[in-house]
Amino acid sequence: MSSIPICLKYLTLNNNVVIVIVGALADWVRSKRLLFSFGIIVMIASSLLLFLGTHIVLLVVARGLQGFSASIVWVSGFAFLTSHIDKKNIGWAMGMSSVGMGAGEILGPSIGGVMYEHVGHFAVLGLVCAILGVDITLRLLLVDKLPTDSATTSNNEEEEERPLLQNRQGEQQSTHQDHETSIANKSQRLATINVFSVKLNRDLCASCYAIAINSLIVFSLEAVSRPAFPLTLKHKLTRLDYRQFCIATFRLVDIC
């Protein structure tokens, strides 16, 4: 039982280290679908290793690989979403991905726990493999939009719309656009901060800070839900473990 926290900690640490590498890889690889699909293949392999492994070393390696694959899927998934969804609908798409994540966190332990108790260890493996199989099929059916194709298409469209003869009104418009571009560039320069002589976007750093604080609050409350909740709900809830009730309540409202 003492090895379980070690496995979880190893998963988290591995996740932290790999995310940075995966982010750079997502920019370097032209096809985001390829990286996306690679992540799910690694997830299938790590799940099989986790279910079929019997030695503690295998379990730790499997959890590390799960962290690695989760990092790939999460980062490349967002990069894929950003490159394929237009600006008008990206808020809706991001929101739906958050809903999916939250729903998975609620349904996964519930369904997995019931299946493990009533059907057995390998039934859960079968369910996991079935879900991952459907997932990888859907990802292989995705139409990938490569960066050079997008650039060529947008340049061709701009060429078609540009007037052949530029009159005085066109000159005034181009002057106005140059002025707007210079204002945008100036505001962009002002919105950067220097960290160890590296220029970072202030707003994006603020979002990272907000996410880090949010995550700290969520996981610190989850960590203390078993030993430190002072309420004596467990005396009333005879069938259901009060810790699970608290966690389930917390997670249920997190997806709302």
């Binding site: 932290n16 995966v22 991001m94 969520v218 610190s220 002072p230 409202v253």
Partner: protein, 143 residues
């Protein structure tokens, strides 16, 4: 998405901080406290979920704008993956630091001090958000 993440983040962090302070005072085992406990947990959970979604959306819109600007300039040095990697790293840092901080506070102090410390983090984040995301364009205005 219409108004940007600034004011909604400030509001949500402030409400979440208030909820965390309220959670610190719920130490009795009567029915009223249990009902308020559930209500406060609902509030805190809603706030944390809202913050995550708001900033993921803001990040996505900002990355999309940057990507389109680079396409116009005919540049192929996209940094979307690295940026989302940094956002995911921020989340992962919280998963590591959160439980450690919780253990530290609960071993050396009590439940109320723990909740107040989390609330102060939340209020501090609300203050930080005042100075960020000042410029925001509604993405649906590009039609």
């Amino acid at each position: 998405m219409r108004y940007g993440p600034r004011w909604s983040s400030i509001l949500v962090f402030t409400i979440g901080g208030g909820g965390l302070i309220g959670l610190g005072f719920m130490t009795r085992s009567n029915t009223i406290t249990k009902v308020f406990f559930v209500i406060v947990i609902v509030i805190i959970g809603s706030c944390t979920g809202t913050i995550t979604t708001i900033h993921h959306i803001a990040f996505g819109v900002a990355m999309k704008k940057e990507e389109q600007a680079k396409l116009v300039d005919n540049r192929n040095d996209s940094s979307t993956g690295r940026s989302f990697g940094s956002l995911s790293t921020a989340w992962a840092v919280g998963t590591c630091v959160g439980p450690s901080c919780a253990a530290l506070f609960l071993e050396n102090f009590n439940w109320l001090v723990f909740c107040i410390s989390l609330a102060s983090l939340s209020f501090m984040s609300a203050i930080v958000m005042v100075f960020t995301w000042k410029e925001w364009e509604d993405p649906s205005d590009d039609e």
